[in-house]
């Protein structure tokens, strides 16, 4: 398989659970990693971000090598340009919405940080809420701040951990639209981790079915649905429908 310009991940490890997976995501492509809870989806995402160190493997993104067990390369998270949106949003409670976004702008000149943060918040339809603390924002607003913060980093890859998990119907629709438009705007690999098969199918270009830390099948959503590689995959796909 040729070196992709986007994200290329091959990892193996035991902590916190055993995992052995390989996947890739091209620029301007959205990959959904789908699997039941406990399948290790978050762990894979954390490997890409540098929050978990695999035992063996290689992670490359945008021409950079972020991790390579063979040659001992292991960039810490703050040296990898990832935009990570956590399931719990993980906003800094002691900072305002503006402050949260500004924290991720350390690479930008000081004079520009405020302005850039404002623009990002505006892009996420959060004008007027800049001075609010996370505790004063709704769930949907918090998520958008988290998104803005991730984008502020000017990342080489976007990672979203269960973005649909805690949101209500209305927010889900808004998020869906947001992510869809983002996909078109940024030419970044976007990796989405979810157990919600429905949304994954609608949004993603590629899907990766994961179970017990192993990739069972990769391909376009339709492909997987029509031609599941195994009974296990079929079962998971069906189960995901409920």
């Amino acid at each position: 398989m040729g070196e992709r310009e986007g994200l290329d991940v091959r990892v193996r490890g035991e902590q916190p659970f055993a995992f052995d997976a390989a996947f890739g995501c091209g620029t301007a492509e959205m990959l959904a990693i789908v699997g039941p809870s406990g399948s290790g989806k978050s762990t894979l995402l954390r490997c890409v971000a540098g929050l978990v160190t695999p035992r063996a493997g290689r992670i490359g993104c945008g021409g950079e090598v972020w991790f390579d067990a063979a040659s001992g390369v292991d960039l810490p998270p703050h040296r990898r340009r990832v935009g990570f949106v956590f399931q719990s949003y993980a906003l800094f409670p002691h900072r305002t919405a503006l402050g949260n976004v500004a924290m991720a702008l350390g690479h930008a000149p000081v004079a520009e940080r405020d302005e850039r943060a404002r623009r990002l918040l505006a892009k996420m339809h959060l004008e007027g809420l800049e001075q609010r603390r996370p505790a004063e924002l709704s769930g949907g607003e918090q998520q958008r701040v988290a998104l803005a913060r991730a984008l502020a980093r000017e990342p080489k890859a976007m990672l979203l951990d269960e973005p649909f998990a805690a949101v209500d119907r209305a927010t889900r629709k808004a998020l869906f639209r947001e992510l869809a438009s983002l996909r078109h705007e940024l030419s970044l690999p976007i990796v989405l981790v979810t157990h919600d098969l429905d949304e994954a199918e609608r949004l993603a270009d590629q899907m990766c079915i994961l179970d017990c830390g192993r990739v069972l099948q990769t391909g376009a959503p339709r492909e997987i649905r029509e031609h599941p590689a195994s009974a296990q995959v079929a079962g998971l796909v069906d189960a995901g429908d409920d």
């Binding site: 703050h78 935009g83 956590f86 993980a90 924290m103």
Partner: protein, 222 residues
């Protein structure tokens, strides 16, 4: 009211707290975030002064830096006076005796920071030092302050260790609590009573402050 003894007690408390700030933050944070296997052992060792009888602590400290020890002789060679029976000796003993009082609240405070917040900080480009300064310390400060206040109040009341390591040398190692002991032996019940009342009030105030701060910790991470 023995003012020089009170001043001495306050100075001892202040310097103890000054030293415990970096030590407590470093150790409390390390204990909160490390996943090392030996962590439990370290926690036990650092909690020892909590349960150890003060005289046992005093005994071992004297052994460690009393007149005959290598540490004691080295100190004397450099500074011209003994480590035991001096303010410095008291300070060393006080810092060790107060380690758990400072470390434990600080550790709890750091543990109270959701790991994802620190992960998000790292992903936002903050180096480990920046995470310490912009995330850990601001979020954990109530516990840090609480630990320091507790250590200060506890230092004011130290007796057994102070008496063994410092003796009762006026202006040097005779702290307020020792003066109270001495006043009783001098049949000066009024003097003993006055100082005791003062220390009691200070202890209550200190505990009140700690209480206030720990409720803030709850609210921050709620």
């Amino acid at each position: 009211m023995d003012r020089s003894a009170l001043a001495l007690s306050f100075r001892l408390g202040a310097f103890t707290v000054l030293l415990l700030l970096p030590i407590g933050v470093a150790l409390g944070r390390w204990l909160a975030f490390t996943r090392l296997r030996g962590k439990g052992g370290a926690e036990v060792a650092l909690s020892l002064p909590l349960v150890l009888p003060p005289t046992v602590l005093g005994y071992y400290l004297l052994l460690a830096f009393g007149g005959g020890s290598a540490l004691g002789r080295g100190f004397e060679a450099i500074f011209g006076h003994t480590l035991a029976f001096s303010f410095e000796g008291l300070l060393a003993a006080s810092v060790i005796a107060n380690l758990p009082f400072a470390i434990q609240p600080m550790q709890r405070s750091f543990e109270g920071i959701a790991p994802e917040i620190r992960e998000a900080a790292a992903c936002s480009g903050l180096s480990p030092w920046q995470v310490l300064g912009r995330i850990d310390l601001p979020l954990a400060w109530p516990g840090i302050a609480g630990g320091l206040v507790l250590a200060f109040a506890h230092t004011l009341g130290e007796f057994g260790v102070v008496l063994m390591v410092g003796g009762s040398i006026p202006g040097e190692t005779r702290t307020a609590s020792i003066v109270i002991y001495d006043r009783v032996q001098a049949f000066d019940t009024a003097g003993a009573g006055a100082m005791s009342a003062l220390l009691l009030v200070l202890s209550i105030v200190a505990l009140g402050v700690v209480q206030l701060l720990s409720s803030r910790v709850g609210r921050r991470h709620g």
